[in-house]
């Protein structure tokens, strides 16, 4: 006779602690715990009712939430593909653009160009230029102060040079800054105007060490531009980026890549299984 496993208050608290401390939102934590309680009621588990047993069950469920069929990068095989990179200050955008170009250069023979559309921050253009040299791809910058004008000229240049993948690095902007949020909307509009389509990818770069504000960032960026996915950086840190669960579930956005360091090779395609295993380690 299988003994049905019980889940006591103390264990629930330990599970809650593990989830919250991995930066899973309070709301998602409550939902995941409710689901575990239902399963315990309806299924007959033989194992010991330890906290680790339940955390494994939760990892399984998280993996299902994160597994999607749109985790791959969408590129246009027959014409110019534009990848627009956005995110708050210091999240790792410029570094991610550099790494992404290196990755694409390695796995394809496409002609790639980086666009330095951060016209504001000190040495932002210089920083991206170094990355373009590291991954050996084309680089575009000019003296225009308006980022949308830079992108406009870059698109002209890219079309002339038969560039196949254009990656646009933008300035960091806090999601509650309405001027800067309309600025990035303008950049998206310029791409639509010049290419008759949205960028093939519009990625929000999220700092993996962030807490619940990551969700507010997704919400606010989604209001102004058409996000196609998320990159979570700095996962080589001690942070777990549990907010990724809500990103996928509540905002229906795929996590396309994760950053795991500061070097050119430190960008890897997102692996839902590996990520959910690592959540409670």
């Amino acid at each position: 006779l299988k003994q049905s496993v019980k889940i006591d208050e103390n264990t629930i608290e330990l599970i809650e602690e593990a989830l919250i401390m991995s930066d899973v939102s309070v709301q998602t934590t409550q939902i995941l715990i409710e689901n575990i309680k239902k399963r315990v009621k309806n299924e007959k588990f033989e194992n010991e009712a330890t906290e680790n047993f339940f955390l494994d069950l939760i990892s399984d469920e998280v993996e299902k939430i994160l597994k999607r069929d749109d985790l791959e990068l969408n590129l246009n095989p027959h014409r110019l593909s534009v990848i627009l990179i956005s995110g708050v200050n210091g999240s790792g955008k410029t570094t991610t653009v550099g790494k992404l170009s290196g990755l694409l250069r390695k796995i394809s023979d496409k002609r790639i160009m980086l666009v330095a559309a951060d016209t504001f921050r000190a040495a932002a253009i210089d920083q991206l230029k170094v990355w373009s040299e590291r991954s050996n791809v084309s680089f575009f910058s000019n003296d225009q102060k308006d980022p949308a004008s830079v992108v406009y000229s870059a698109l002209d240049d890219a079309i002339r040079q038969n560039i196949e993948i254009l990656i646009i690095d933008t300035a960091g902007r806090l999601a509650n800054n309405s001027n800067l949020m309309s600025e990035i909307k303008k950049i998206e509009d310029i791409v639509i105007k010049k290419t008759n389509s949205l960028p093939q990818e519009t990625l929000l770069v999220l700092d993996g060490t962030s807490g619940q504000n990551a969700l507010s960032q997704i919400e606010k960026f989604k209001e102004v531009i058409t996000l196609t996915g998320v990159v979570i950086t700095k996962l080589d840190s001690s942070s777990k980026a549990g907010f990724a669960i809500s990103a996928s579930r509540d905002f229906d956005l795929p996590i396309k890549f994760i950053g795991v360091g500061e070097k050119l090779e430190d960008l890897v395609p997102f692996d839902p299984s590996e990520f959910s295993r690592a959540l409670f380690k």
Binding site: F120, D236, S237, S238
Partner: protein, 292 residues
Amino acid sequence: KISEKINSSFKKLRGNAVISENNVLDALKEIRLSLLEADVNYKVVKELIDTIKEKAIGSEVLKSVSPTEQFIKIFNDELSKVLGGSTTDLNLKVKPPATILIIGLQGSGKTTSSAKLGKFLKEKSKRNPSLCSVDIYRPAAIKQLEILCGQAKLNFIQNDNDKILDICRNAKEKAYNVGSDTLIIDTAGRLQIDEEMLNELKSIKNEIEIHETLLVIDSMIGQEAINVAKNFNDEIGIDGLVLTKLDGDARGGAALSAKYVTGKPIKLFGSGEGLDMLEIFHPERMASRILG
């Protein structure tokens, strides 16, 4: 807002003379939720709630305020105490150049804060700072600081080689020679779990006389704020915290966790990208922001 959420649980308190444990149970749940949503560390929330509820329970319901207001005020006051309570002064009354080391995670705002601090000390404290960078890793990091110093009209010291300790010694000497009473050293971002990079900071503190070490923390950091602050403090030793990007809408619970675990004061905060946007930290305002 937290006051609206607590109001309903306090409707039953009208007419009572004293806040009893049963009255506050729901209100405490709301406060706990609010603090967790604000990214205050789980364990810190637990300890704070236990400590503060002792103060709230048994306190007389004042005739002049609603129980909700009083309850929130107790929490606000206690959180302010945790956040504040120590001087925000920098240890600069030393033999010149008073040397400030700026450390923190990648992208937290160190380089920008270094330049802001130079401008702050020049304008508010009438000091004469020089700045240098030992970030020999990040592309154009040194150039970034140089440009910011140019914008703020601060003396920027060029590196004559790429050995971290030589850079610091050279900078100290050059700062002294031009009559700078302060030297600010911007460092590369690093993880608090990166032993090699921690050793780099340790060697700086061993070989170079550092008078003030400031840990720069991004206000949107999550639960790991506590480990970041604790590790940097235990391994390197910090004198104060700088909280950045408070012009964003992150609640900033990290401030509470970092202060709580290190006991070190939050001295300054960044309120924007502009070089004049560095301000003296206000515990009370931060407490209400975190509480929601």
